[in-house]
């Protein structure tokens, strides 16, 4: 599973992109975020307030209950501020 990080999530986690293999019980966006938060202090810090974290699965906005699976491209980023 490819994980992408943008904006301050990228900075706090210290990585723009990584390939991870979560345990088999991680089948939803919510479970994935909880698992990522255990990967280190930068992750825990970046993911401590999920109200400012948005997720896209395969480039579509996704909610905590949406499914994730091996091979997906999952992106984590703050609320968007373009325009």
């Amino acid at each position: 599973m490819k994980i992408l990080y943008f904006a301050w999530l990228r900075q706090r986690i210290g990585s723009a992109e990584e390939t991870v293999t979560p345990p088999p019980e991680v089948t939803s966006v919510g479970a994935l975020l909880a698992w990522l938060a255990t990967r280190g202090p930068g992750y825990a810090e970046a993911l401590k307030d999920l109200s400012v974290v948005r997720v896209a699965v395969n480039q579509e906005f996704a909610q905590a209950g949406d499914a994730v699976k091996a091979g997906d491209e999952v992106a984590l980023f703050p609320p968007v501020t373009g325009g």
Partner: protein
Amino acid sequence: MIRVQREDFDIGAELDKLTAGRSDIGGLASFTGLVRDFVGMDKAAGADVSAMTLEHYPGMTEKRLAEIEAEANTRWPLSASLIIHRYGKLTAGERIVLVACAAAHREDAFAACQFLMDWLKTSAPFWKQEDTANGPRWVEADAKDDALAARWKT
């Protein structure tokens, strides 16, 4: 048509292309977003901004903009539409975004143009980091933009 690019754009040339050779267009509404040199609602109260860096999500950005443009064309009878959004480092005064909608009637052109800006502001994956007098600062999403986008929910 949508374009995501680092380079600047020429508003006049872009708008002219949109209407060139057409005579079924009664009105062309456009909006250009520029880098403002202050933060927040009030110039006097805001920190100075000398430049900003626009980060985006290549792939998803183009996809979202194309979806937003398609949605506008479903809602209003548009003759032509255009979204150009830049990324990278931009200094104060530089152009960030151009949205333009052409239609037979001006209400449709205006409404679609505002709709595109409101949706783009709240659902296209771009993030702004401002270089302020107090150091770099990630722009926070504005609740006002969510309220403006909520106008269009059906």
